[in-house]
Subunit: 384 residues, 2 copies
């Protein structure tokens, strides 16, 4: 059976080019980039070159980039850094964060810090809700760029303006961290990069290798793990040079093709939405074009439980998801983002996520919409 | 110029087989192992299968294995877990630990915990020194299995016996963590595995990929980073399945060939030591066979500064090191392990590390000993 994979937001297939760069780099650089003999210095120079090119690509200083084992670790560096504050702090966190950030709420509370969770009507945090949540002791605001389940783009520019104004008024310092795992290389960086104090990125969402990602932070942070001094002392462990090289290759490709890929993906998504609109039982949850990534579509078939529909499509060779992979085994966790977005329980019960990459074709989309329509028609008819 | 690489303890060349397993797995499993659709479940089953086979290989329960981004992170999981204790604890740490553990001393002290650092005469911690360091509030003992610079095998069996006896006498609980990065797959596991409560392993020291490793812990620990629930909730982040599969492949190969590889490496090392013995100016620092890994040799040419000799050999295409890669850019840090082992400043100033893998040949060793002898003869003659 041919398989159609629409769960790129969970993980994307590694590209041939990325795998080739990985292999070449692994064979070329056998030494540790921290070693001082020639092979070590060559590996160190290669790493330093990639960091500089990454920095140019992003338009940020190279010394503000820290390679990690992935988006989760990049998020953890910032969360743990604030968790270590001795004085209790207040943090503001969107209710639709990825589990790698959302799971910290309990930890912050346990340590005596206070947390305000913001609802996200329709999948978007409003600048007004941020404004009313800020307090003089607010030290950290955690709001992702593109939501991983609905694809909604958060208004970080306006949110940042609210935060900066509050900082000036109250002479306090607030760190705005944006999880950019679903944004980097997928939407224009003007949506997130200039507004956040730090962002996290994951390679395997961009057809890069697993196990690598980065934190960009323009502000200093306290590393939770001291060690061998790698990554300017902020993230210890032998640098994963082959994966970092492949990560850069993917990032470069994504950024070089960004506009064309965006236009193509948007037309694919529009086409999908148009096809699904023929069935009133299928509700699109993701807001229109200007407020969402074209690569992710949240929808719901209220009368059909998500898990049932996901499995029915799976049996036809079509992979979609019910939420983030991290939360997909737990119904309550899987529904959290839909609930926090204000969708009613009926919509949440039938909520699904479709996500794809730039290589998606019109045939893929036709197959997907046909499958969704036929199977929902069939199931709804059976249910009477 | 042909290059001879004798810095395997810093990083080893990835094997063709490991790279092949990495590539095949990356192409075969495009889905996230946490996803519940068929490709996700297949990836999850693959991961679970590898974990079981790893556990069988080690003779431990699969649920006590946690894949990490490497040895450093495995060490950090244990260190951070104890760092988070609210009540001040006492810990005992060998003075010859790898920087990924040694760097925690300051952090522990900053948080009000107390630390006893054990010297290691000749590169070996004595059970007696552990016995006299233990206190009723001792919660953690950090002693590596094979030292990364001298290759010395620590007497973990006797150390563990001392700790267990103390625990019984004082009705306290002490966690013995052993960094097994230079031991796993290289010396018989009876040296470390039955004696430690937890061990850390790194793939890239075994000709596996960078960016993966594992923590085995028979005792529960508090994870520093909550997140998406991967690795039984102990280590969040999308699992690096291709790297983990390659890591297992290397581990299996190392364990299958352990005895033959050991015998070969020992004969290579013996041959090297014998050759170097022709020059009284060259001092072997690593103790004899039964107390050291055959893959690492610490030596010193007291009158020639380490960095100078390392560079001179490097110019001949021979890569050796002055200590761990993590500390090789800092003279004081590079010398720490030699100093803690009780070698005098003259020996420390000229200290070097040679390390290799099972594929080392008699020709490689001949080239190495010839280079060391010729260059030290020349330099010493020039110095008069």
């Amino acid at each position: 059976m041919e398989r159609y994979y629409f769960d790129w937001a969970a993980s994307s297939p590694i590209s041939t080019e990325a795998l080739q760069v990985y292999t070449e780099t692994a064979l070329q650089h056998i030494a540790n980039p921290s070693s001082v003999h020639s092979p070590g210095r060559a590996a160190g120079a290669a790493l330093s070159g990639i960091r500089s090119r990454f920095a140019s690509l992003m338009g940020v200083p190279a010394q503000q980039l820290f390679f990690t084992s992935g988006g989760t670790e990049a998020n953890a560096l910032i969360c743990n850094s604030f968790l270590m504050k001795k004085r209790p702090i207040h943090l503001v966190i969107s209710g639709i964060e990825h589990p790698s950030i959302f799971a910290y709420i309990q930890r912050f509370k346990q340590l005596g810090h206070s947390v305000t969770i913001l609802p996200a009507p329709g999948g978007r945090i409003t600048p007004e809700s941020v404004a009313s949540a800020l307090r003089p002791d607010t030290a950290l605001v955690l709001i992702m760029s593109v939501n991983n389940v609905l694809g909604t783009i958060q208004p970080l520019e306006q949110i940042s303006a609210v935060i900066r104004a509050y900082e000036q008024r109250h002479r306090c310092r607030i760190h705005l961290h944006a999880d950019a795992v679903q944004a980097f290389g997928k939407i224009d960086r003007s949506h997130y990069l200039p507004h956040a104090d730090s962002i996290s990125v994951s390679a395997h969402k961009l057809q890069g290798p697993r196990g690598t990602g980065l934190l960009y932070s323009r502000k200093p942070f306290l590393t939770p793990s001291p060690g061998g001094g790698q990554e300017s002392g902020m993230r210890p462990g032998t640098e994963n040079l082959p994966a970092i090289a492949a990560f850069y290759q993917c990032s470069l490709r994504c950024h070089s093709n960004l506009e064309a890929d965006l236009a193509h993906a948007q037309s694919m998504k529009d086409h999908l939405i148009m096809e699904l609109a023929s069935r009133p039982a299928i509700k699109v949850l993701t807001p229109p074009q200007e407020h969402a990534s074209p690569y992710i579509l949240g929808l719901s078939i209220p009368r059909i439980p998500s898990e049932v529909f996901m499995r029915v499509l799976d049996d036809r060779g079509v992979s979609i998801s019910t939420g983030s992979a991290c939360s997909s085994k737990n119904r309550k966790k899987a529904q959290r983002i839909f609930l926090q977005s204000g969708f009613d329980q009926r919509l949440c019960d039938g909520a699904l996520r479709i996500s794809f990459g730039p290589s998606v074709t019109a045939d893929d989309i036709a197959m997907l919409s046909r499958s969704v329509i036929e199977e929902s028609d069939r199931l709804l008819k059976e249910m009477g």
